[in-house]
């Protein structure tokens, strides 16, 4: 692998993939757990506000 290709790929990893993963992970996880609990309690779909509040 050329040095240029290594830098391109690794910078893509450190500056794009990792931040997306770190932000997206809690968002997705929260969405899934909150949505699941909503379904279980029969409250229907989750509102956007509930979702955003749930992250923290």
């Amino acid at each position: 692998m050329t040095q240029k290709k290594y830098w391109g790929l690794t910078l893509l990893l450190t500056c794009v993939v990792l931040p997306v993963l770190l932000n997206g992970g809690p968002l997705l996880l929260n969405y899934l757990t909150a949505q699941t609990s909503y379904w279980h309690t029969g409250r229907g779909a989750m509102t956007q506000t509930d979702f955003l509040l749930g992250i923290f």
Binding site: M1, Q3, Y6, W7, L9, T10, L11, L13, T14, C15, V16, V17, L18, P19, V20, L21, L22, N23, G24, G25, P26, L27, L29, I55, F56
Partner: protein, 458 residues
């Protein structure tokens, strides 16, 4: 968040195992060091801009949020916890973690970097040395600042104020407020020309109960309700001096208020109507039950900083203060500190407008190492917080008995204050508060009257 960090670390680890990375350490770890250099430069540019002044009126939060947009979620969390300016440290820690995960992956796959460690180390030392500059600036800024601790939240004053107003607002008998009724037929009543009353939050129940008993509903109910305000000590004095209210129920004025009255050519007339205790509060887990006045003075002047110096745990004291000119702050300065200067108050960082940061005096948080002050009735009846204990001062507890006989050293007088010649109704109300019925009502509300009520005389 921990799970996603583990997942991200694992991704880096497997990436390192799969890829053939350059053998030179600086080339290999450059992509991990570069984001850190960016974070340190951003920190370095932003921090000095507000070092001179703790009040940051430019939109620092949105600037930082834009600078660290890829980590917006974590930045928001840091802002909620009150430490947004420390956020670049998170970037440093995150990329140190990823670099370590990459190094582990490369090592496991048998392809460790063989050269260039010295130059990599050199770059890291330079980056860290540069980061120390804004790091130190940020540390200095947060020296007197309290960060949010979810275990010991600041008391929600807006909610307390709302609840207090619900419970002590007069003329709402249907809502069953907590104001007591008179025991006998009122000896004074008005159905018009109601004197306008105002005062400190801690004494609102006194004049609210009196107004409820004495102010009969006239032609316009709203006029009657509008005559009883509770705009807190500093504003009550300002309203009295401005002629917006007839009589206020407060502690003795601060020097600033005396000066303000003198500038208007007014003389404040103070008539004591009740006694109250200025009390010091701690968490009930705090083993300290008693402080001497000298110890309190030493704590609030900054000479004593640890609870162990006054017989408590080996913890730093968190001495909370109140806003300047508030009733309790005035008493602290006048009765406790006297000539001794106060230490700088504990502050908190709050948002200014949409995105600036300013510092405000932190309100009491009941942490096990906290020390605060208030008034006995307010702290125990009006706004009782769980797990709070009142301290004895010079071994004398602030009980009604010790307040009545004046043994408690920080017993203060509650005053009716007027600034202009009293109208006939205001004079009658003034005299009524000093009458047997007025003093009985004050006792029934829960305060200590000036004179023993008839029941106590028996």
């Amino acid at each position: 968040m921990i799970l996603t960090f583990a997942l991200a670390g694992a991704s880096v680890y497997f990436y390192a195992r799969k890829i053939v990375a350059p053998a030179h350490a600086l080339s290999r770890y450059g992509p991990f060091i570069l984001p850190v250099i960016y974070a340190v430069i951003a920190w370095l540019v932003i921090m000095p801009a507000q070092m001179a002044n703790p009040e940051i009126h430019f939109p620092i939060i949105s600037t930082l949020m834009a600078a660290f947009a890829p980590f917006v979620l974590y930045f928001m969390a840091a802002t909620i916890f009150g430490i947004p300016l420390f956020f670049p440290l998170f970037i440093l820690a995150a990329y140190a973690f990823f670099g370590a995960a990459f190094a582990l992956g490369a090592w496991k796959s048998g392809r460790p970097a063989t050269r260039g460690w010295k130059s990599t180390l050199g770059v890291l030392v330079i980056v860290l040395a540069v980061a120390a500059i804004p790091g130190f600036q940020t540390y200095t800024r947060y020296q007197n600042l309290l960060v949010t601790d979810p275990r010991y939240p600041e008391q929600d004053h807006d909610r307390q104020e709302f609840r207090m107003r619900q419970q002590y607002t007069p003329f709402q008998l249907e809502a069953r407020n907590r104001l007591p009724l008179l025991r006998q037929t009122p000896t004074l009543q008005f159905d018009q020309n109601y004197p306008a009353l105002d005062g400190a939050t801690a004494f609102f129940p006194i004049y609210a109960a009196a107004a409820q008993a004495i102010y009969l509903p006239g032609e316009d109910q709203e006029v009657r309700a509008d005559k009883v305000h509770c705009s807190t000590t500093p504003y009550a004095y300002e309203r009295l001096i401005a002629g917006e209210t007839d009589m206020i129920f407060v502690l003795a004025p601060s020097e600033a208020h005396q000066k303000l009255a003198a500038e208007q050519g007014l003389t404040l007339t103070l008539t004591p109507i009740a006694k109250e205790a200025f009390v010091f509060l701690v968490h009930d887990q705090n083993p300290v039950r008693d402080l001497s006045l000298e110890q309190v003075r030493a704590i609030y002047s900054g000479q004593i900083n640890h609870w162990r110096a006054v017989g408590g745990a080996n913890e730093k004291i968190l001495p909370f203060q109140r806003e300047k000119n508030s009733g309790s702050q005035t008493i602290l300065q006048r009765e406790v500190m006297r000539e001794t200067p106060l230490r700088p108050p504990l502050k908190k960082e709050v948002m200014y407008g949409m995105s600036g940061l300013i510092q405000a005096i932190a309100q009491y948080r009941n942490a096990p190492n906290a020390l605060g002050y208030s008034f006995r009735f307010y702290a125990t009846k009006m706004n009782p917080a769980p797990n709070i204990r009142l301290l004895a001062i010079n071994s004398i507890a602030p009980t009604p008995e010790n307040i009545r006989n004046g043994r408690y050293p920080l017993t203060v007088d509650v005053y009716m204050v007027t600034a202009r010649p009293r109208s006939q109704n205001t004079q009658q109300l003034h005299d009524w508060f000093l009458s047997e019925q007025g003093q009985q009502l004050i006792e029934d509300v829960g305060y200590v009257p000036l004179t023993p009520a008839p029941e106590q005389e028996k």
